[in-house]
Amino acid sequence: MSVATVDDTLDSIDVDVLVELSGAVWASFIDAETLLDGPVDVDSSSWTPGGTSAEVSISGDWSGLLSVVLTAAGARHVAGRMFQLPAGEVCDDDLSDAVGEVANMIGGNVKAMLAGEHRLGLPVVRALTGPVPDPGSETVAATTLLWGEHLVLVRLAHTPGGVS
């Protein structure tokens, strides 16, 4: 019986996997009624400035980054749902915590699919001051989803040198 390699398991991680994992997180902890829709085809102009990005690193036999990008309003509504607070009452720390945990859950499930030995980093959450960063040439899979009126970008990228 052959043993799956990291590359074998990476090949199985595609847009459908990201959609499924994101959908499970959304339905379980954010909104069981308005589910994630998509993938949707949008260009960068659809994103309003000032969003939030949360990333978790995967390191070991393979190195990568799982990131979740939300608009500012989307992030606030996600945090509000998770904390069971009105979106307007969410403070910046709560927003960072919630979006970071979303990335942690999706990233952890991606890591669980990989053959080999890996470690999951702690979430790193950033406020975006400009447009959504270009995915670049190392994207393994990426998808833009829609939660009500809010865009959600989920992306798995390969980071050959690890994450600095």
Partner: protein
């Protein structure tokens, strides 16, 4: 009965506690800690009947927390609630003395199934 919930994410601690209630464990006394190091101290001070811990945390990870507990002779029932639910992680959890590993995202039914034998 008393449950210690350990996770560096405050929102996840709240979600775990809400899910405990949804699973029917309404009469629990719940205490919280934000990482494994705090968890070790809190087990000493609060003597919970069950620990529910994340795996990936700053200061002291969940597996380090469990290992340290068992090393000092503490056999408090311990379960992981983590985003990392691979077979390898489950084996490591079992080998270290965990009763179970619940993968995130989870639901109340899973909590009821996994925790009822320990909480009644």
């Amino acid at each position: 009965m008393k449950v210690l919930v350990v996770d560096d994410s405050r929102v996840m601690r709240q979600i775990v506690i809400r899910t405990l209630r949804q699973a029917g464990f309404d009469d629990l006394d719940v205490v919280e800690a934000a990482n494994g190091a705090e968890g070790l101290d809190t087990v000493s001070s609060e003597e919970p009947d069950l620990v529910l811990s994340d795996w990936n945390m700053p200061e002291l990870t969940g597996i380090e927390f469990l290992t340290a507990l068992r090393a000092r002779g503490d056999d408090t029932p311990f379960g992981f609630v983590t985003s990392e639910g691979s077979p390898e992680m489950r084996e490591r959890a079992d080998a270290a003395g965990a009763e179970f590993l619940i993968a995130k995202p989870f639901d109340a039914d899973t909590f009821e199934e996994m925790l009822s034998p320990l909480l009644g």
